[in-house]
Amino acid sequence: MKYFQVCLLSIFLVIGVSGCRGKVNIEDVTLSMILGIDVNDQNKVEVFMASPVFSGETKEKTEHFNVQTLSIKESRNYFDTRASGVTGGGKIQAILIGSKVLEHKNWFSIMDMFFRDPKFRLNADLIFVDGPLADVFNLKPKDKPELPIYIPQLIQTADFRNVAFRTSIRQFHQLYYEKGITPFAPELAIHGEHLVVNGTTLLTKNNLYNRTLSMNETQLLKILKDHLEGQLVIALKLKKFKKDVDDVFTDEETSFYIKDVKRKIDKKYTNGHYSFNVNLTMPIMFTESPIGLTNSSEAILKKAIEKKLQKELNNLIQSFQKDKVDPVGFGILAHSFQYADWEKIENHWLDTYQKSNIKVKVKIIVIDKGITM
């Protein structure tokens, strides 16, 4: 009996010890850090990859590849035929989408692997690139770190100053499927030898390219969405204080930190029409002012800023309504209070959106005027 037990136990031990075939040591992994998807001139889908090299003997610290295929997982097999390590996607930092991709309706289907594979890093940034991707991957700026580190760092610092709207793949998935919002992502462009964050790309309901928001408009979008990261500094031109029309240095700029955005939205629904009143309260700290600021003169500046901001925000929203895009997500607000009515229009939200009445009111509280008057 005891012999039988020992036998059995040893069989179990042998099975247990035979271990796992999926073990890959870190130095044998080729980490894909940047993945790029583009459509080239022959109308074929191209997949790019950039990854760091873990060897002290090579001159280049990163390697780039590109293959033509429609499946990202198949592209990984192709990459494996070229890379010296085993390709893995667990540390992916950014996914770049070329501008030609956005001209095709079904481009989102190529992203299916990202959401199905459990090893994929869903915090990777989704970035649209203005222009062909091959140019980006051929860039070798001398005063910047390697591409796999350069791009994520660029986006991260831009997001910190709220001049770019960092969107992870996971957030993009939500933007795609949620019927009350249209997708958007930051945009990169190549200026000479460097990459520049151009603003934010807005997509229509059909995932086609609509327009690019400039840096200022991106900041306004961030305010509207109550999604501030890090520091937000807004600079405005106030015509009221323009002093010398001929000189280059017109003294009309003011800039200020927005410390916080308190957003209250009043939702109303009457007869198939939605109306939203967005009330924004923002405490600010002045960093530049065209006039000397005393307790009395700050009120004048404050009023001017309120007026200007309100006008710009309202213009932005009206342009959204005209273009039938809803990056702010008014649809989400719509289905949070009149669910039965939402269900009727959920597939045509943007038509209702176009007709709805959205007004923005801005209230500014001046907290700090800086050190000097």
């Binding site: 796992c20 999926g22 073990k23 040591n25 870190i26 980490l31 873990f54 060897s55 002290g56 930092q93």
Partner: protein
């Protein structure tokens, strides 16, 4: 008198027919008997004349106090009436051979008088004894600096010094068939559990060895799960620790010839407490305790976590750290498991070597081993420098654990966990944690659960395990009990 089988065997071994000395007091016969039992050359037999009778005094010269003996001989050699009284008052009489054997071995001297059918035993024992010295392994910064010695009477004396109470009682049990040694069970009557006492006595009486030399041997013999990685006994060489545990209702076993005492029953938390914790204030003591808990986890898991992360789940590591790990691992030709085992075994060998060497050389070996070999190995590309850091951290953590037994056990547990981590990654770590934890939960020390503060959860015990609340609140129960 009824003799046990062992005693009968002994008498037969000495070729003695009877168990008592010659009934008529034939001196030559009795001397023969004693010389048969002790054919050793340190048995000294001195002839005396006591009140005109022939007498012989026998003793083992190596363990007898010469001065006392000389005094005794002088006193009884004077030819006065009072010797009878003196002998009656100062000696014990016996006629049992086995008792004579025991007493001579204790260092006492036997006086045989012609014509007397009893022998007189006089206490002149001076067994070698060490002076009290500071503790060598249970060091502490602020506790008392005295440690137990090898004589059990001296140890009991120390304990009585620390606990001046009538309730502190000793029960003596003899163990060992050939080579008897006395185990003293010390306890405080009223605080201790009756079942515990009888349980301890029972376990000790089950030992049927010829001799037990060391307290650690005794402890291992009465351990219930000798195959368990966790020690189920706690030895200390400090009387203040023993006294504190006695006051908590535990039992202390003092083994003659051993400078460590055994404390029973114990739970897991005791291995992480030191006497210094109670001399410091609550905040400092709690910080030290937390440090030890962290050290405990690091000792067992750190190499395993490292291997699991770089072999299976590199996604857990943040990017920049991953790049530097990858760079340093790229130069190493070996599997992480092999690297880890090589480094760990080297460190263990260094540690063992440092124990055997005299002090000045051991420091040099430490420096040479640690710095030079580690650095050279990294530069030669045999190990990566992150591995060296991991191994060094693990070693330092294992040295923080106060109890040597537990620290050594944890060092050994590390290796199977490393192997599991390299086979199955994080899942392997989790399964080995489960196995260890379940094993620890199933241990019990004399019907008290081994993992006491954690399972079953006991709120009072938590006040003194991971953190230590101020003594006012910790010993509130004692205060309350005394106020009533």
């Amino acid at each position: 008198m009824n003799y046990s089988n062992e005693q009968k065997k002994r008498l037969r071994k000495y070729n003695l027919r009877s168990s008592v000395i010659h009934t008529e007091g034939n001196l030559i016969e009795n001397l023969n008997i004693i010389q048969k039992i002790f054919p050793t050359s340190d048995l000294v037999t001195k002839d005396l004349i006591i009140r005109d009778k022939q007498a012989v005094i026998c003793y083992l010269s190596s363990i007898v106090d010469e001065q006392k003996l000389a005094q005794f001989i002088n006193t009884i050699s004077t030819n006065t009436e009072e010797i009878e009284l003196f002998i009656t008052n100062n000696t014990v009489r016996t006629n049992q051979i086995l008792e004579i054997e025991t007493t001579i071995l204790d260092g006492k001297s036997i006086l045989l008088v012609e014509g007397d059918s009893v022998a007189f035993v006089y206490s002149t024992g001076k067994l070698p004894q060490r002076a009290y010295t500071p503790p060598s392994i249970d060091n502490s910064l602020r506790g008392s600096k005295i440690s137990f010695v090898e004589t059990d009477q001296a140890n009991i004396a120390l304990l009585r010094r620390f606990i001046k109470s009538r309730d502190f009682q000793i029960k003596q049990v003899e163990i060992g068939n050939e080579n008897k040694s006395i185990v003293s069970i010390a306890y405080i009557d009223g605080l201790v559990d009756e079942d515990l006492l009888s349980g301890v006595e029972q376990s000790i009486s089950k030992i049927k060895l010829d001799s037990v030399i060391n307290a650690n041997h005794l402890a291992q013999l009465i351990e219930r799960n000798p195959f368990s990685p966790f020690p189920q006994y706690f030895t200390t060489e400090r009387p203040d620790v023993a006294a504190t545990t006695l006051l908590e209702g535990k039992v202390v076993l003092i083994v003659d010839r051993s400078s460590e005492v055994i404390i029973l029953p114990i739970n897991f938390a005791i291995f992480f407490k030191t006497i210094d914790d109670y001399s410091a204030r609550a905040m400092v003591a709690s910080f030290n305790r937390i440090l030890r808990v962290v050290a405990f986890f690091l000792t067992i898991f750190l190499p395993g976590i490292y291997i699991a992360i770089i072999s299976f789940n590199y996604e857990i590591v943040p990017l920049k750290l991953l790049l530097s790990i990858g760079e340093s691992r790229a130069k190493v030709p070996f599997d992480p498991l092999f690297e880890a085992i090589v480094m760990e075994i080297t460190l263990e060998m260094l540690r063992e070597a440092a124990i055997r060497l005299p002090a000045p050389i051991s420091t040099t070996v430490g420096i040479v081993g640690g710095i030079v070999i580690g650095q050279a190995a990294v530069q030669a590309g045999i190990v990566s420098n992150i591995m060296v850091i991991v191994v060094a951290l693990t070693a330092i953590s294992s040295f923080i654990i106060p109890n040597y037994e537990m620290a050594s056990s944890l060092r050994v547990i590390r290796f199977p966990i490393m192997i599991m981590a390299s086979l199955f990654g994080l899942i392997g770590l989790i399964v080995s944690t489960m196995i260890l934890m379940i094993h620890g939960l199933s241990l019990s020390s004399y019907n008290k659960p081994y993992t006491l503060p954690f399972s079953p959860i006991n709120r009072d015990a938590f006040k003194d395990t991971i953190i230590r609340v101020p003594l006012k609140y910790l010993w509130k129960k004692q205060n309350k009990r005394n106020e009533e």
